[in-house]
């Protein structure tokens, strides 16, 4: 219970004012430091809603999110932004790279958001991460001049730049073929094992989910299954 890097307590999310859609029902869930977790569930069950709330991009209607043992409930927008910058890495189904910048510059972006300028050391680190995801050859390509798989791997490299404690991934391979998908999950596992980064990954792919340490299934905004291996 104590070593949860992130925890949601009694989190509910209700959309709409007149016609209310309850996306999450008083959810309680914690993820251990260094764990590799998969969230599954049918479309519309509330997976993305949960992940966005964990990532502090969205606020719960009720309940609270505790990151690193600190409740985010009363944090200002600026504090939340800093928290995201320092401890969270996001990977979405779409890569959201800045098309005006090269792969390397995109990877450096989270560092620059925090520090303004990218020093030698950070540039070295960004190159190392690009190496890790196998993109050293295209590091100076504009984000638009890469294949879909390369773009997604750049987005993963970017998520790793600030050495986040947690990586939140929402169907990160949804747009990729099965071979690329495999290589990306191998990469996630490698990072998880080497850096101790906690992963929370939403996936539709049962095969992928089965490789995780823990599988959480969401059904109608509730946890319907929670398998820890």
């Amino acid at each position: 219970m104590d070593n949860f890097v992130v925890e949601v307590k009694g989190v509910s999310k209700v959309y709409g004012k007149t016609i209310k859609t309850v996306a999450l029902h008083e959810l309680n869930l914690g993820f251990k430091t260094g764990s590799f977790n998969a969230i599954i569930g049918e479309s519309g069950s509330g997976k993305s809603t949960l992940l966005n709330i964990i990532g502090t991009l969205d606020r719960p209607t009720k309940g609270e999110v505790i990151i690193n043992g600190v409740s985010t409930r009363n944090m200002s927008k600026g504090r939340l932004a800093d928290l995201r910058n320092e401890t969270l890495g996001f990977v979405f189904q779409f890569h959201y790279l800045l098309p005006e910048f090269t792969a390397l510059e995109n990877v450096l972006m989270p560092y620059r958001v925090a520090h303004g300028k990218a020093d030698k050391e950070s540039q070295k680190r960004a190159r190392e991460i690009l190496n890790l995801v196998g993109l050293e050859k295209v590091e100076n390509n504009l984000a638009t001049n890469m294949s879909g798989g390369q773009q997604q791997r750049t987005a993963i490299a970017r998520a790793l730049m600030n050495k986040p404690k947690i990586i939140l991934a929402d169907e990160p391979t949804g747009n990729l073929d099965s071979q690329t998908t495999d290589s990306i999950y191998q990469l996630f596992r490698k990072i998880n094992q080497e850096l101790g980064t906690t992963f929370v990954i939403i996936t539709h792919d049962r095969r992928v989910a089965e490789k995780a340490d823990r599988i959480v299934e969401i059904l109608d905004g509730r946890v319907s299954l929670d398998i820890i291996k």
């Binding site: 990532g55 932004a81 779409f94 959201y96 800045l98 005006e100 989270p110 958001v113």
Partner: protein, 387 residues
């Protein structure tokens, strides 16, 4: 700061077409401002120069008609001391009406006598002599070219003048002048000071002291200084501004209307930038959304757009200055009078250009404020949900 600036620069670079278009818009606005501004200023300068450039701008004369300033040299010293920096081209003038008689007809003229050297300052008299030469000896005069035509007088002719008191004298015409004002060319007869003093019986006295000032628009203030310094109730100080109220109000009307044009140009430039940047906020919402998700604070995200406005303003101002100066120069060079001289002289006022450019940069940055506020309100969730 640095990141926001770099992102702003990249955004502008990546949509080159849009950037060029908006820079051109600002540039045209700035150039129109500079062109109209210089045109009006040049026009006003040449107008004022034509009106009072070769005329006295401040005149000191006795209160009573027919009185004289008895010690002109002492008064000139006092006047000069009133404002030594502004006052130039002082000249003592002895003048009075007379009737000019030729065998054929007679006409009323004004005889004006001054030291030719001192008069050079205001009247540039040596350059105005179109035929013959200045009369430097006793009883030598020069007359206007229109008068010479009217009365059919030639150089070397003798003319006869009668003063209001009935004194007559004979004078030798040594040259014709052209002051470029027909009424003066028809009514003035100029001579050296000694001739005028003798004929008009003023003794050592003169009729008035005339002068110019360096800043013509300060003539009224300088006139006040002179009046205070002289502190003499028998003397009256006048300046060109009080005698040209209509011209001055015309000029200020012109200035006001040019200001109006400039304000409207500015407004259209601001609206243009604001609307283009507003579109760009929509175009770049994905980038802004992810930057915020990565932890960029709202004010920083807004700064990206303020920098874009600022950069566009700077670029537009530079291009606009070049265009505006080019436009003013072409106008001065190619729009000419029949004699080939510029209709409006080319005139560059760097202070005015600097102010125009500065206002354009500030206005562009302020125009970016609306999109910047929209950016700060953009919720990353919207972007991430809707792809």
């Amino acid at each position: 700061m640095k990141l926001a600036f770099d992102i702003a620069l990249r955004f502008l670079k990546s949509s080159k077409g849009q950037t060029i278009l908006i820079v051109l818009g600002i540039a045209i606005g700035v150039s129109v401002q500079i062109f109209i501004g210089s045109l009006i200023t040049g026009l006003q300068k040449s107008l004022v120069d034509k009106t009072v450039g070769s005329a006295p701008q401040i005149t000191v004369a006795p209160q009573e008609d027919g009185d004289f300033i008895l010690d002109p040299q002492a008064e000139i010293k006092t006047i000069k001391a009133a404002n030594p920096e502004e006052i130039t081209n002082l000249v003592a003038v002895t003048q009075g009406p007379a009737i000019l008689k030729t065998p054929a007809e007679s006409t009323t003229i004004i005889l004006r006598g001054f030291d030719w050297g001192a008069a050079q300052g205001i009247y540039k008299i040596a350059d105005r002599v179109v035929k013959g030469e200045l009369g430097i000896n006793e009883n030598e005069v020069i007359i206007g070219k229109d008068l010479s035509k009217n009365l059919n007088v030639a150089i070397g002719d003798a003319i006869e003048m009668i003063t209001p008191t009935g004194k007559t004298g004979e004078f030798l015409v040594t040259g014709f002048f052209d002051l470029q004002v027909k009424s003066l060319n028809e009514s003035w007869i100029l001579t050296n000071n000694g001739t005028a003093q003798t004929f008009l019986e003023t003794g050592e006295g003169v009729s008035q002291i005339e002068m110019q000032v360096n800043d013509v628009f300060a003539a009224d203030e300088v006139a006040m200084d002179v009046e205070k310094r002289l502190n003499d109730e028998t003397l009256i100080v006048t300046n060109w501004k009080e005698e040209n109220v209509a011209l001055l109000s015309g000029l200020s009307g012109q200035t006001a209307s040019s200001l109006m044009i400039q304000v409207f140009v500015l407004i259209s430039v601001v609206l243009g930038i604001a609307s283009v940047l507003a579109i760009s906020v929509v175009q770049k919402s994905r980038q802004i959304g992810i930057l915020k998700a990565m932890g960029m604070h709202n004010p920083k995200a807004s700064l990206v757009f303020l920098f874009q406005g600022f950069l566009l303003g700077i670029l537009g101002a530079f291009v606009g200055i070049a265009l505006g100066i080019g436009l003013s120069w072409s106008f001065a060079t190619f729009v000419t009078n029949p004699d080939g001289s510029s209709l409006v002289p080319f005139y560059i006022d760097w202070v005015f250009i600097g102010v125009s450019a500065g206002i354009a940069v500030i206005a562009s940055t302020l125009a970016a404020l609306i999109p910047a506020i929209r950016v700060s309100k953009l919720d990353p969730m919207e972007v991430i949900k809707n792809g």
